[in-house]
């Protein structure tokens, strides 16, 4: 029963990812390992690009895309519903029973540890992504690596420029240099 399995896997992602869309990435990579017939590590990069250049929360866009790849349009809907269900339950419970949740000292202390850990998990996801994008079986791909260095400088200097512009720039560079090299 693939729909049930999809719902359960994305329910877990919704339950355990803290800090928004990109925080679901490490879980998607884990999913690509445990369910390789659903999504490939390669497809995750395309998924991020499309999710960042279309309206809607990135995490939801990625869940819809992954669900679609695994089991078509119904799969996309099921994966998204799975991902939002824990949010709905947790938020309703907090709204009912905890009025000052975000001001609680214990919660603040936990987040002092959670935040760096989430950044570390996203870093790990980035390293995996760079592994399939900038390397080819251990060998460094020169064009991709130079392009990456240039784009990183660009995004760090021009912070306000919308991601869609850099994604389009990447597409143009890809066509120009005939990537993947």
């Amino acid at each position: 029963m693939i729909y049930l399995a999809l719902f359960w896997e994305f329910f877990k992602i919704g339950l355990f990812s803290l800090g928004g869309g990109l925080a679901t990435l490490p879980f998607l990579y884990k999913l690509a390992e445990t369910h390789p017939h659903w999504i490939s590590a390669q497809a995750i990069a395309d998924m991020i690009a499309i999710s960042e250049s279309t309206p809607g929360p990135i995490g939801i866009n990625m869940a819809t895309f992954a669900g679609f790849q695994a089991a078509g349009a119904v799969g996309g809907v099921i994966a998204t519903l799975g991902e939002v269900t824990p949010s709905v339950i947790i938020i309703i419970l907090i709204a009912r029973f905890l009025t000052a949740f975000d001001k609680n000292q214990k919660v603040k202390d936990a987040f002092y540890g959670l935040r760096p850990a989430v950044v570390a998990l996203i870093t790990y996801a980035l390293l995996k992504l760079m592994g399939v994008t900038l390397l080819n079986g251990g060998a460094v791909l020169p064009i991709e690596t130079v392009l990456y260095a240039v784009l990183v400088c660009c995004v760090l200097v021009w912070k306000k420029v919308h991601p869609i512009i850099w994604i389009l720039a990447g597409a143009v560079a890809g066509l120009l240099f005939q990537l993947p090299s």
Binding site: V84, R115, A171
Partner: protein, 184 residues
């Protein structure tokens, strides 16, 4: 300001607009959220939105969805929470499923493959940017930097599951703050 009542359908449509007009989720939704729920409908006030937003950020799941659920719940209970959340995700479902189906038909084209060859590099750069921004706010002392390096290392070399990282990080945060306060 007098707060107004909200209908279920109104909640659905409002969050459908917010979801459909926000690029990038979480942090990007605030301006649209303020325009819809404060200026247009007077459902909540400025301070309430900021509080709700803060809770949305420190609870599991997608920030935009958490915010939608919270506002929906405050206005119309459980059904309101569900209506707002469904509104928030509807544009994603429609747009992504349409795009993904279109992409399936052209993914063998050499042009598309080349474009995505470059797009993947751009995505690496964008995620690097996000990590730099997040690191500035969360790696605030040596204890947090140590935790960061440990988690990256353990994920890379010991294949530590992201699921295991969350409880470890909570205990670490509570413990470090406890000892900091005791030492102070």
């Amino acid at each position: 300001m007098k707060k107004r009542e909200a209908g279920l359908w109104e909640l659905y449509i409002s969050f459908l607009k917010i979801g459909g007009l926000t690029f990038g989720g979480g942090y990007a939704m605030l301006p649209m959220l303020q325009r819809e729920v404060i200026d247009r409908h007077h459902w909540v006030d400025e301070q309430e939105v900021l509080d709700i937003y803060a809770i949305g950020q420190c609870t599991p799941g997608i920030i935009a969805v958490n915010t939608a659920t919270m506002i929906g719940y405050r206005k119309r209970g459980v059904l309101g929470a569900i209506a707002a959340t469904l509104g928030e995700v509807t544009p994603s479902l429609v747009i992504i499923i349409t795009l993904a189906s279109l992409l399936l038909g052209v993914q063998d084209s050499v042009w598309i493959q080349r474009a995505f060859g470059g797009i993947r590099v751009a995505v690496c750069a964008l995620i690097t940017q996000a990590i730099v921004n997040l690191a500035r706010k969360s790696l605030v002392d040596w204890q947090t930097i140590v935790l960061y390096l440990l988690v990256v290392g353990a994920s890379l070399f010991a294949h530590l599951s992201p699921l295991a990282v969350i409880p470890i990080a909570i205990v670490y945060g509570l413990a470090v703050q406890y000892f900091k306060r005791r030492a102070a």
